[in-house]
């Protein structure tokens, strides 16, 4: 024990409030900063969604908490809702937040490879959020040209009204592009950190196929993000110049081409879906193995399939542009690629099903969130198959069918997987146990109201309702009775969906006020992050860990426990020292 205390104190001096909670280089603090900022942005994005859903259901009426809504404002809300939810909620929560918390603890090291870069990455991210929120309040309002930033709406659309440089620079459009660019820079820095940490800082004995599948998926996601986003950085610079200097990169009148920007955007935008899907699948993989007490089925195959998917993800982007006038020969290629990319993910899903098969399943809150993810994402993925075929896509493009499909994929990825992760890892990183019963109530309400919000929109889309029209009472000959009611049901469910998140907040508050600490390994999980105290001390592991076992050795009949911790060394440990190794909770922390 004495040695442990010495190692723990080694190099980690006393910290003031500022260095501990704000300008921290500790990966756990940074991860939580990302998640808190992401949840704050999610609240803003949710509020925007509430406002425009109210407008869709009750057009022309004043909206409670907001007031009158005009068409320009409606476009602004939809645009910012889209970009906030993808870049300021999904990315920080799933990739940066969970990545920061989990990568160093899962591979058994003390911190990220470049802690200062990590801190810088968070502060750039925060700056980008501030710039984005500031863009709502500049003269002329926020950017309203759709979250995909297509020119000409995003490029020099206001050139005639604001010829001078600074007015153009501080317009909503330019600030929006700047915020996106800053966010990308921040995520790139985080991605470099993840990759270097995973390649170089693994604990001794942690070979590539002893890493939990979550670490694999986070690294593949970082790699995919880095390579897919880079052309968009160049594209965003060109778009910004179009806006503030009046160049014509995307202006057909001056020899440019708006389709070029669509390609640059979707070259990033499509892999982005897989960038946030992979960490979500990682979360699900971790949770279903623990709660069905079985090893992950076909672990190596899952990793290989996701590598194949990561390569394929880079070459299928143009299926978002089937009606943009792209070359029909290429459209066929992208259509086939899109359908092929479902095969690796189907493989991953089947492996997860096979993991559940015959396991002794415990329906904890985290587990039912994970199962909810699997069910809902399946609907999203299958509707994606139709949309990938260009013959159907030309019919359904820009209708509510696409909106419903998109939300059936992204909502489970961002919220179901995140809440699964939250209920699972909260005791580890905060040190308090969440209330399981409230977590289950939260799940069922979210599940029901989510389906209520989006399922009927499939039918609205199939009957032809266009997604960018702010007031369908102007087109009463197009959209008729059952579909108007569907809109209203959807809006009511969306409001209830938002309201049911307050259960989560209530659960969070009462859990934080609890006195009793969470045990270090409440779920009897085998991966490394559970083999230290809750929350892990600064430096994560009081004693440097060595890894002898794979991450999913559950129900092995040759051991007395039903799980084998990754750092369990049967040669040197008797029962007593095992106790020291696995329960280093209170006494070490109190002495340092």
């Amino acid at each position: 024990m004495g040695q442990a205390i010495h190692l723990n104190g080694n190099g980690h001096h006393e910290q003031s409030f500022w260095t501990k909670y704000l300008f921290s280089t500790d990966h756990k603090t940074i991860g939580m900063q990302y998640i808190i900022t992401g949840l704050f942005m999610a609240a803003i994005g949710g509020f925007l969604a509430y406002v425009f859903r109210m407008n869709l259901a009750f057009p022309g009426e004043a909206i409670p908490l907001f007031g009158e809504l005009g068409p320009q404002q409606y476009n602004m809300l939809v645009t910012n809702h889209g970009m906030i939810m993808v870049l300021w909620v999904a990315m920080p929560i799933l990739v940066s937040g969970l990545g920061n918390l989990l990568i160093p603890t899962m591979i058994g090291t003390d911190d990220m490879a470049f802690p200062t870069v990590n801190m810088l990455s968070y502060w750039i991210f925060l700056l980008s959020s501030v710039v984005l929120l500031a863009s709502f309040f500049v003269p002329g309002g926020g950017f309203a040209g759709g979250w995909t930033l297509y020119p000409p709406l995003s490029a020099g659309a206001y050139a005639d009204t604001s010829p001078d440089f600074f007015t153009a620079l501080f317009s909503g459009t330019s600030l929006f592009i700047l915020a996106v660019a800053l966010e990308i820079v921040s995520m790139l820095m985080g991605g470099i950190n993840f990759l270097v940490t995973t390649i170089n800082k693994r604990a001794p004995g942690m070979s590539a196929f002893k890493m939990p599948v979550m670490v694999w998926f986070l690294c593949i996601a970082s790699l995919d993000f880095m390579f897919s986003v880079a052309p968009l950085v160049a594209g965003a610079v060109m778009l910004l110049f179009d806006n503030i200097l009046g160049t014509g990169f995307y202006d057909p009148v001056r020899g440019g081409d708006p389709v070029l920007f669509q390609h640059l955007f979707w070259f990033f935008g499509h892999p982005e879906v897989y960038v946030i899907l992979l960490p979500a699948l990682g979360v699900i993989g971790e949770i279903i193995t623990v709660f069905s007490r079985k090893p992950l089925f076909a672990y190596r195959t899952i990793v290989k399939l996701s590598l194949i998917a990561a390569v394929l993800a880079i070459v299928v982007w143009a299926h978002h542009q089937f009606i943009a006038g792209i070359d029909p020969r290429m459209a066929t290629f992208f259509s086939v690629g899109t359908i092929i990319i479902s095969i690796p993910f189907a493989g991953v899903f089947l492996s997860y099903m096979a993991t559940l098969w015959g396991g002794s399943i415990r329906f904890s809150a985290a587990m039912i969130w994970a199962l909810g993810f699997i069910g809902l994402f399946l609907i999203g993925g299958l509707t994606g198959l139709f949309l990938g075929s260009n013959t159907f896509d030309i019919y359904a493009h820009d209708t509510y069918f696409v909106v419903a499909h998109f939300h059936y994929t992204l909502f489970p990825i961002v919220f179901f997987a995140f809440f699964a992760a939250f209920y699972y890892w909260f005791p580890k990183f905060v040190g308090k146990q969440l209330n399981e019963k409230l977590g289950k109530i939260h799940f069922w309400l979210t599940f029901v109201f989510f389906n209520g919000t989006f399922f009927l929109l499939f039918f609205n889309g199939l009957m032809g309702q266009h997604r960018r029209v702010h007031d369908y009472s102007l087109f009463s000959n197009v959209i008729q009775e059952p579909y108007i009611t569907f809109e209203k049901i959807s809006t009511v469910c969306a409001i209830l969906l938002i309201v049911s998140q307050f259960i989560f907040l209530y659960n969070l508050v009462i859990s934080l006020r609890k006195k009793e600490r969470a045990p270090s390994n409440p779920w009897n999980a085998a991966t490394l992050e559970w083999q230290t105290s809750s929350p892990p001390p600064h430096g994560n592991f009081p004693v440097p860990v060595k890894v002898y076992h794979g991450p999913y050795e559950y129900s092995n009949p040759s051991f007395s426990l039903d799980y084998v911790p990754q750092n369990y060394d049967e040669r040197i440990m008797d029962t007593e020292s095992k106790q020291d190794q696995y329960e280093p909770t209170a006494d070490i922390i109190s002495t340092t």
């Binding site: 470099i192 390649i199 004995g205 110049f241 009046g246 014509g248 990169f249 020899g255």
Partner: protein
């Protein structure tokens, strides 16, 4: 603890800084790759109009800058070689030469830009546009964006080198010379491609 040692360090682990810089370089190369790809597509789309504009770029300045950057790559790698032998003074001399080369590059670029601007070739080239040559003005937008982005990287590399030199003077962080050098080589090899694309291929 001896078992720890044998387990922990694989025989050929890439040093952490080098690995990070390699990944950074990979990302930067794709950024420039996207820009160059966009340029190339337009170049192939308007072969005649753009080669007419490219004839106005100064091959002399471009060639001179290429030599400067190739030599600065050599000098920074010599600084790195000196750093591995901990010869602090030599490192400082070679790094100063490299920064001097960077400065020379930027001065050249400024003279070149001012010549082009005085002939009416700017970011938007209003004179070309008024003459009805919109496609030609797009070439200059690409020209200034690509060389400007590259010049920004040169400037960033020089600032990074000054920061590294401040550490080297105190005899600290000599390994950073190699890292900043790798970044500088990347800047060099982007120029190796920009030069034929913008200046020679007419």
């Amino acid at each position: 603890m001896s078992q720890q040692q044998t387990l922990s360090v694989p025989p050929k682990a890439i040093p952490q800084g080098r690995l990070g810089i390699w990944i950074l370089i990979a990302g930067e190369l794709v950024i420039f790759g996207g820009l160059i790809a966009a340029y190339l597509m337009n170049r192939l789309r308007y072969p005649d109009q753009w080669s007419e504009q490219a004839a106005h770029t100064s091959t002399f300045f471009g060639a001179f800058n290429t030599v400067v950057l190739l030599f600065s790559s050599y000098s920074i790698v010599r600084a790195h070689a000196a750093a591995t032998r901990a010869q602090v003074n030599k490192v400082l001399v070679w790094m100063s030469i490299t920064i001097g080369c960077g400065l020379l590059f930027l001065v050249n670029k400024t003279i070149e830009y001012s010549g082009e601007i005085s002939h009416g070739f700017t970011m938007t080239s209003p004179r070309l546009q008024e003459a009805g040559n919109q496609i030609g003005s797009l070439f200059w937008s690409f020209y200034y964006t690509m060389t400007g982005l590259h010049g920004t990287h040169v400037l960033a590399g020089m600032v990074a080198m000054l920061i590294v030199m401040a550490g080297v003077r105190k005899g600290k962080n000599l390994h950073r010379v190699e890292l900043v050098g790798m970044y500088w080589h990347m800047v060099d090899l982007i120029w190796i491609f920009l030069f034929p694309l913008l200046y020679i291929a007419k």
